[in-house]
């Protein structure tokens, strides 16, 4: 493990420069005030113990309310129960409470909260408020930008409730709370030198996502490398793969591809 961390540090420190628009987590920085972005997340997850592919479509709309506050609303669709249908929605807000800026550098911290609602059946011990469970989450994120290189870490507490349509959380109320933590690293690879806003940016990211159930003590650790393209300094496409490294939780489909498409409208309101 030590070796992996060391190799990761070496890989990123070749030229210490950055990017923090992570695929699997949010950075402490917010969207610009008065901007609106539309995003479409596609999760193509491989079901364990079957040859089935679960496709989750998650369209979202996000807005920068002020320089410190942003909100996001998402809707959840999937074909997990044979038929492709709407399963729920979530509301997310993030408030940046610390910002230490210098040229090409910052250290920022933010607090966030999520409310999620889902109608589908409960089919796994893993608690996932992004398209599977009804519940709420609150956490803190800290992000360090150093030239073209960015590091970010998130810790949050989540509590799951019964899903809609009488789909009960069947793993016991003592096992309904989890701690989620993530660690993300991103690097701006291209362009080497900026000339204008139309240049395509290429970012490489490696992220880990983990969960520990405070009741059962069961956990998972996933890793997710991804490639991000930014077009015209206002649109982005992320392509990545999420892979379980270790887990003793019951999980339906932990491994799979994800594709995000997003477009930002600046000064939209």
């Amino acid at each position: 493990m030590k070796k992996i961390v060391l190799s990761a540090i070496c890989f990123f420190s070749v030229s210490c420069k950055a990017q923090e628009l992570f695929s699997m987590s949010e950075p402490a920085s917010n969207m610009p005030a008065r901007s609106i972005a539309f995003r479409i997340d596609n999760l193509i997850m491989d079901e364990i113990n079957s040859s089935k592919i679960n496709y989750h479509l998650i369209p979202g709309i996000r807005a920068g309310i002020s320089k410190k506050l942003m909100i996001n609303g998402s809707a959840f669709f999937s074909n997990r129960l044979k038929q492709f249908k709407a399963e729920g929605a979530s509301l997310y807000a993030k408030y940046r409470f610390l910002s230490n800026d210098a040229v090409q550098k910052h250290f920022r911290m933010a607090a966030f909260g999520t409310l999620s609602f889902n109608n589908s059946d409960i089919h796994q011990e893993e608690i996932n408020l992004y398209g599977h469970n009804t519940g709420f989450e609150a956490g803190i994120v800290a992000t360090q930008l150093l030239h073209k290189f960015a590091l970010s870490s998130t810790v949050s507490f989540a509590k799951v409730l019964d899903n809609g349509n009488n789909n009960m959380y069947v793993y016991g109320s003592q096992n309904s709370r989890v701690i989620n933590y993530s660690f993300s690293a991103g690097k701006l690879m291209l362009p080497v030198e900026y000339r204008d806003y139309r240049q395509t940016n290429i970012n490489l990211m490696v992220e880990t996502q983990s969960q520990v159930n405070t009741g059962s003590g069961k956990y998972y650790v996933d890793v997710a490398p991804s490639l991000q393209l930014i077009f015209n300094s206002e649109s982005r496409v992320d392509i990545g793969y999420r892979k379980q490294i270790s887990s003793n939780l019951i999980r339906t489909a932990p491994n799979g591809f994800f594709i995000r498409i997003e477009h930002t409208f600046f000064n939209a309101f």
């Binding site: 420069k17 969207m31 005030a33 230490n100 806003y197 940016n201 930014i230 300094s233 600046f266 000064n267």
Partner: protein, 161 residues
């Protein structure tokens, strides 16, 4: 008390015939072009701004103004902050017509008051680079060196750059 004296001084300031030509500001806290573009578009959206020329390598934005418009330096700073970043250098190019200024003697130019914080008596003539020194116009580190009392609205501590 200090603030009252400052207000009295500003009320009795010299009104100078001078023209603000451009503002060059440097933003901090960003690297990527999407962040830079957010600042670029926020500055362009201001009604008194004619054009913004962004130097993406140095994160510097050269702002020019519409003729006969009322330039609001605080709005320029706030636009950078609303985009999610911080101004770390802010220099206005102002054309003066032979104006002598003394330290802390307020000078009013187009409804905005400048308090020259450095030097002895200086003759301002032609295009001069005027650097803003108040909180939000310099880096947090540099601000700590001056630590000026917050001036009244549309008043600024400045120095010749």
């Amino acid at each position: 008390m200090k603030k009252t004296l400052l207000l009295i001084a500003i009320a009795a300031s010299l009104i100078t015939n001078a023209q603000v030509n451009t503002v060059s500001l440097q933003a901090s806290g960003l690297t990527c072009s999407m962040c830079s573009n957010a600042i670029n578009k926020a500055l362009k959206a201001l009604d008194f701004v004619q054009d913004v020329d962004a130097d993406m390598k140095s994160y510097t934005f050269q702002v020019s103004f519409k003729p006969n418009s009322i330039i609001d330096f605080d709005m320029l700073r706030k636009s950078v902050e609303k985009a999610g970043f911080t101004v770390c250098a802010f220099v206005a190019t102002i054309h003066f017509d032979k104006r002598e200024v003394k330290i802390n003697q307020p000078v009013t130019i187009q409804h905005q008051t400048f308090l020259f914080a450095n030097g002895a008596t200086t003759l301002l003539d032609g295009n001069m680079l005027i650097k803003f020194l108040d909180k939000g116009f310099v880096s947090q580190k540099e601000y700590k060196q001056h630590a000026f009392l917050a001036p009244p609205p549309h008043s600024y501590h400045v120095a010749l750059d």
